[in-house]
Subunit: 396 residues, 2 copies
């Protein structure tokens, strides 16, 4: 553990304490999309009918009621699982930590996109592995790059334990993996016997284009057992409840239940009950539709302001995601976004410098934007402040 | 991870599914002691006033309101801490896991009593350390045995990273460490620079004798920085809420916050709020007094039945704890309590065989009794069933 230093992402929450700052930094969903009243009603109902079980120890794997609701939720997406394929987690971070602890012994390799979700890197780094990255492409992971890495690592005796991807609206880049790439990634998994960990926090938040099948569902229709799915209720429902779930082959999930017995024992029933109520009692499809409309309008507001404030000659480019909560800004190579952040904070706007999204050798000229939390007015103002902090002139 | 097999403790919960079984197996507090109505009121109040923050991401270390209430709670016990000494955990299991991940690299040693809390062993074993045990004595840990172990391990190049103890009403033995032993253990810690992890889940549940100072408070009045305290709300309030906390030197706690960022991110605010309400709004001292009276009567009911059913000539002995939730039964050496358990389950009574409370080389003639969950009538009946399964005759 001595080598592990943690990341600065947690510290970035400190910026949010200044109420004048417009934060594009967190991964926070908007409270506007929280089903507050339905939450209160579900809470009152469960505390009335089931408080003794809510206050007691409960099974490690998860609440039967929630696991049943999750099965139905996944069926919408062409995935068929039973209880033995599932473990309830204390949200996605815990799901990643379970995968990391199960697969990674010190010195093993894990394959990731460059950039990739910083929270996954933190979970992986706790196991002290080799982080092997390949630059993400416009249509998703560099599958040939992954193949080369696996081969090179094998030649020096290092085992590549799994490939970690966020195929839909990746955090931080906003990139979605094409169907061709999904096919190729699965073939690579079959060819090299390397499991895939598929992280799906935003999959239902698609604002444009047609849904693509999840790697889990594709694998299930072919060989099966090669994909572990990591899910969270943090974005679709709310982060504060801290519930998610992993799906995968029974032997993998059984091992995760054993680790969970040692790391937190059970996930609180109350929190699982709220998620079960969310899936079954709060008009899920309508909620998803509302979120899509709401976040999509924020994305449009943000990118339109970017077009106004950062014309092509500025050298600033950004991804235009089909969904999710994030997009990725690329500045000319000589721009250090950590220094830019310090100027930006003086102008009361914050983002996450891109360097935290790389396991090693980070480029310094990127940053991540979260467009889900700030209001549309704030997003427009934020872009103006970004422009101001970039070249000391307003774009109004 | 491949070497880790998990314990059978989780599986023991399966027994509880048969409603005819009287379980002395779990570590379950009684729902009779759950402040149900106060919980409902606190829940309604917080969900009314603070739902947006309850549903959102929150700081990793913990909620300021809970951390303040904990400071007051510890002050009752002669311990003075600030926020930098504290991290809120997802209960004691998580607190033990954080200590284990922080200190133990593969091959390091951890010192434990024989027997010791099986959940701690599970958390430690996830890091694959050497478990170095010394037989617990009537007045607590075998401190001289620990000293010998540390020396022997040092001689073969193995570092003893910490000593794990439950000084008050130890799980599973029910033994309380004498003041002389506490003094000696602290001296050993100073002498060998070995931190102590002090697990205090039942400290307030004392039914007889005078309270003894915690190791944390003794250390604080002397050198300081040598004890890490692991606490949970599971026994005092309720297990289902899954909240606890660790206290310790700021640099240790800061590292735990970094690990927590990677393993579960934040503990849910709602669950922390219920604990803050428990400490500040639910008449804590009266609740503790009620618990003491209630559990003490159960302990008496159990031991009186044992005296009736297992006279000295039976060869069965048991500890008579001054508090806590457990006691420890010792059978003649030739008795295998795992086999006894199978006969007991047929007679509809369950306990935990002692073998799971040893990291290695377990003796087979012990078992643990939890006397907090079953009613007094059930406890009396359970002892009769134990006697029946022991020698096929009733003691009525």
């Amino acid at each position: 553990m001595h080598s592990f230093k943690g990341h600065s992402m947690g510290n970035l929450f400190d910026y949010l304490k200044d109420p004048g700052i417009i934060s594009l930094a967190g991964g926070l969903p908007s409270p506007d999309m929280f089903p507050r009243q339905a939450f209160r009603l579900a809470s009152r109902k469960r505390l009335k009918s089931d408080i003794d079980r809510i206050m007691q120890y409960r099974p490690i794997r998860g609440e039967p009621e929630l696991m049943e609701a999750i099965q139905e939720f996944l069926r919408r997406d062409g995935i068929s699982v039973t209880e033995e394929n599932m473990i309830v987690t204390s949200s996605g971070q815990h799901g990643l930590d379970l995968a990391s602890r199960l697969f990674l012994d010190p010195g093993d390799a894990v394959l990731v996109d460059r950039p990739t979700f910083s929270g996954a890197l933190i979970a992986f780094q706790l196991q002290n592995p080799r982080i092997a990255g390949s630059e993400i492409q416009e249509d998703g992971s560099d599958v040939d790059g992954f193949r080369d890495q696996i081969k090179k690592l094998k030649d020096i005796g290092v085992r590549s334990k799994f490939i970690y991807v966020v195929p839909d609206f990746q955090n931080p880049s906003g990139i979605t993996m094409s169907i061709k790439k999904r096919r190729a990634l699965l073939d690579l998994s079959y060819e090299t016997h390397t499991p895939i960990v598929e992280d799906s926090p935003y999959r239902d938040f698609r604002y444009a284009g047609e849904p693509l099948p999840s790697l889990y569902s594709m694998d299930q229709q072919e060989r099966g057992g090669h994909v572990i799915g990591v899910y969270t209720f943090s974005k679709l429902f709310c982060p504060g409840i801290r519930v998610g779930f992993n799906i995968g082959p029974p032997d993998v999930i059984r091992k995760m239940v054993e680790i969970k017995e040692g790391d937190i024992f059970n996930t609180p029933k109350y929190n699982q009950d709220m998620c079960a109520a969310f899936l079954t009692e709060m008009d899920l499809e309508r909620h998803i539709e509302q979120c899509r409309r709401y976040y999509s309008r924020k994305l449009t507001a943000f990118t339109e302001a970017m077009k106004r404030c950062f014309p092509p000659e500025s050298g600033i480019r950004w991804t235009e995601p089909d969904g999710g909560l994030f997009l990725w800004v690329t500045a000319p190579e000589q721009v250090d976004t950590m220094q830019w952040l310090h100027r930006a904070v003086k102008r009361k706007v914050a983002f996450v410098p891109g360097s935290v999204f790389y396991g090693n050798n980070p480029p310094n000229n990127h940053f991540r934007v979260n467009f889900s939390y700030a209001s549309r007015e704030e997003l427009t103002e934020a872009v103006d402040r970004l422009a101001l902090s970039f070249r000391e002139q307003t774009c109004r």
